[in-house]
C-alpha cells in the first residue's frame, strides 16, 4: 500500500529581500494511510511551508513530494486533498451554507446532491442555526469551524490542517479536539495537523513530529501508542507525561538552538 504522503529530502528556498532564505532543508516525512500526524515547532520553522508543498501551492526547490503515490498537482486535481488554512479564509459574499457548498460547486456536483451534503457537514460542526449568516457575523471560532466543514465536505483522503484551533479558547479547543477525533475515527482519512500546542498534538496523533527552524528540519519524532478512542483521562497516563516532557525538551532545545544560530 502506498503511503498517503511521502516527502523526500524536501528543501525550499525563498528569495527574500535580495538574499536567499532556506525555509526547509532535507525534510523527510512519511505519513501512512489513515494515520494522524502532528507537526509542532517554533514559529517560522516551516510547518506551513511543508503543507503548501503537499498541496502544490509552492514547488520545492529540491527533493520530492508524493501524495497517494502521485505528484501533488495530480492529487489536487483528483480532489484527494483537503486544506484548512491558518486563517479561516471564508468568502465574505457567501453565507455559511454557500461557503461550505463551494468545493462541491467547483467540482461540478449537482446542487440536489451538494445541498444535503453541505447541510450534514454544517450540522457536524454545530452551525445549523447559522447557515444563513455571513462570515462577518460569526465569531473567529465559528469561522474556523465553517472552514473545517468546507475542507471535509468533499471527503478527501488527506486533510492538511494548519493550526485550525489556534484562535480558540481552551474549552472550545477541547471540544473541537474531541469532535475531530470522532470525525477521524468515523472516516478513513489521513490527517497532517500543524499546531503549537503539545497537549493537543499528543491527544490527537499517532505520531508527533517536532521541527526546528533555520533551516526548517525535523529534530525528533514520537510515536503515541495510547489506545483510541482517546479520552481526557489519558492526559494523566505515564505515556502522555513522558512524551509531553520529551517533546517539550525537543521543542525548547530546538528554539534555543535557533536563537544561538542567529
Amino acid at each position: 500500500m502506498t503511503a498517503a504522503v511521502v516527502a523526500r529530502e524536501l528543501s525550499v528556498t525563498f528569495e527574500s529581500g535580495g538574499g536567499q532564505f532556506q525555509a526547509l532543508n532535507a525534510f523527510n516525512l512519511t505519513v501512512e494511510k489513515n494515520e494522524f500526524v502532528s507537526l509542532i515547532g517554533p514559529s517560522g520553522c516551516g510547518k506551513t511551508t511543508v503543507l503548501r508543498c503537499i498541496a502544490d501551492l509552492i514547488s520545492p526547490t529540491g527533493g520530492s513530494v508524493m501524495v497517494n503515490g502521485i505528484p501533488p498537482r495530480d492529487a489536487i486535481k483528483k480532489r484527494d486533498i483537503g486544506y484548512v488554512f491558518q486563517s479561516a479564509t471564508l468568502l465574505e459574499w457567501r453565507n455559511v451554507l454557500k461557503n461550505v457548498m463551494l468545493p462541491l460547486e467547483l467540482a461540478g456536483v449537482p446542487r440536489a446532491e451538494a445541498l444535503p451534503r453541505a447541510e450534514a457537514m454544517i450540522e457536524r460542526v454545530g452551525l445549523t442555526d447559522f447557515v444563513k449568516n455571513y462570515p462577518r457575523q460569526l465569531s473567529g471560532g465559528m469561522q474556523q469551524r465553517v472552514a473545517i466543514a468546507r475542507s471535509l465536505v468533499m471527503n478527501p483522503d488527506i486533510i492538511l490542517m494548519d493550526e485550525p484551533f489556534a484562535a480558540l479558547d481552551e474549552i472550545t479547543r477541547d471540544d473541537m479536539n474531541r469532535w475531530l477525533l470522532e470525525v477521524f475515527a468515523q472516516s478513513s482519512t489521513t490527517i497532517l495537523f500543524v499546531t503549537h500546542n503539545i497537549r493537543e498534538a499528543i491527544m490527537l496523533s499517532d505520531r508527533v513530529v517536532v521541527m526546528a527552524a533555520r533551516p526548517g528540519r525535523i529534530v525528533k519524532e514520537f510515536k503515541v501508542s495510547m489506545p483510541r478512542p482517546r479520552t481526557a483521562e489519558q492526559t494523566f497516563t505515564d505515556e502522555f507525561s513522558r512524551i509531553r516532557q520529551e517533546a517539550e525538551e525537543a521543542l525548547y532545545g530546538a528554539a534555543t538552538r535557533t536563537k544561538v544560530g542567529e
Binding site: 502544490d56 480532489r79 486544506y83 488554512f85 468568502l91 465574505e92 457575523q137
Partner: protein
C-alpha cells in the same frame, strides 16, 4: 441589515430618525435664505428668494420637465453605455496582461481628460443633438469604471486565491466565483463617481452647444437675466444627480449587502 440592529425601532420611526437632522438643516438654510431675500435686501440677481424659484417652477413647469427629461435621458444612456463598455474592456484587459500593460497609462490619461476640453470635439463629431451629450457622458463614465473594475478584479485576497487553487478551480471558475465578486465593491465605488460625472458631462456638453437640456435651459435663461429660472434648472439637475446616486446606492445594498462599506453606512 441582516444582523439584529442595536436599537429596534419600527421602520417609519427609524427612517424619521435618520432623516430629521437633514430636514432641520434644510429648514434653517431656507429660512435664512428667505430672510436674506425678503428682509435683509439681498438683490434678486445674486440669489432670488426660494419662493420665487418655486413660483417659476410651478408657473413654467413644461420647459423644466422637457429639458430635464432630455438631460436625464442623455445622462442615463451615456452612463449605461459607458458602464457596459467599461466592464467589457476591463474583462478583456484582465485576461490579456500584455494589452493591459500597454493600455493602462492611457486609461489614466483618459480618466484625467477635462470634460470641457473634450466636449467641443465630440460635438463636432456627433452633432449638437443628444448623441454628442450621450457620448460625452459615456466617456466620463467609462474611464473610472474601467480603472476601478480592473483594480477590483485583482483585489482577491492572496489566501483566497490559494483556496481556489487547492480546490482545483478552473480559470473561469476563479473569475466568476472569486475575482468578479471581489471586484464588486470597487465597481460600485466607480459607479458612484460615474453617476455624478455623467450628469455633469451632459449638462456641460449642453452648455457648449445644444437645442435642449438643462444646460441649454440655464444658458437661455441667463441671456434674459431670468435668475429664478436658472436656479430652478439648477435644482432639477441636482435632483437628477441625486436620483442617480440613490439608484446606485440601492443597487449596491441589494447586490453586496455583505460588504463592510454597505454595513457601515446603514
Amino acid at each position: 441589515m441582516i444582523m439584529a440592529s442595536k436599537n429596534q425601532r419600527s421602520k417609519p420611526a427609524a427612517v424619521w430618525h435618520g432623516v430629521w437632522p437633514a430636514l432641520l438643516v434644510a429648514v434653517v438654510v431656507i429660512g435664512l435664505w428667505y430672510s436674506a431675500s425678503h428682509f435683509w435686501g439681498m438683490p434678486k440677481y445674486i440669489l432670488p428668494a426660494p419662493d420665487l424659484i418655486l413660483k417659476e417652477a410651478i408657473e413654467n413647469p413644461n420647459s423644466l420637465l422637457r429639458n430635464g427629461w432630455v438631460t436625464l435621458v442623455e445622462a442615463t444612456t451615456g452612463f449605461a453605455v459607458g458602464v457596459l463598455l467599461a466592464v467589457f474592456v476591463a474583462l478583456v484587459l484582465d485576461s490579456w496582461r500584455f494589452l493591459e500593460k500597454g493600455m493602462s497609462p492611457y486609461l489614466v490619461v483618459g480618466l484625467n481628460i477635462p470634460i470641457v476640453a473634450i466636449a467641443p470635439a465630440v460635438i463636432i463629431w456627433f452633432g449638437f443633438g443628444m448623441m454628442s451629450k450621450i457620448v460625452v457622458a459615456a466617456i466620463l463614465t467609462f474611464f473610472p469604471v474601467v480603472i476601478y473594475t480592473l483594480k477590483g478584479l485583482k483585489a482577491a485576497d492572496r489566501r483566497e486565491v490559494d483556496l481556489f487553487s487547492v480546490l482545483s478551480a478552473s480559470r473561469i471558475q476563479g473569475l466568476l466565483k472569486l475575482r468578479m465578486p471581489s471586484s464588486l465593491p470597487f465597481f460600485f465605488a466607480a459607479l458612484r463617481v460615474a453617476s455624478a460625472a455623467s450628469v455633469l458631462a451632459a449638462v456641460v456638453a449642453e452648455f457648449i452647444q445644444a437645442n435642449a437640456g438643462i444646460g441649454y435651459l440655464i444658458l437661455t435663461a441667463a441671456y434674459t437675466n431670468n435668475t429664478p429660472r436658472i436656479w430652478a434648472a439648477v435644482a432639477v439637475s441636482a435632483g437628477i444627480a441625486l436620483l442617480f446616486y440613490w439608484v446606485v446606492t440601492v443597487a449596491e445594498r441589494k447586490i453586496i449587502p455583505w460588504h463592510a462599506s454597505v454595513d457601515a453606512r446603514n
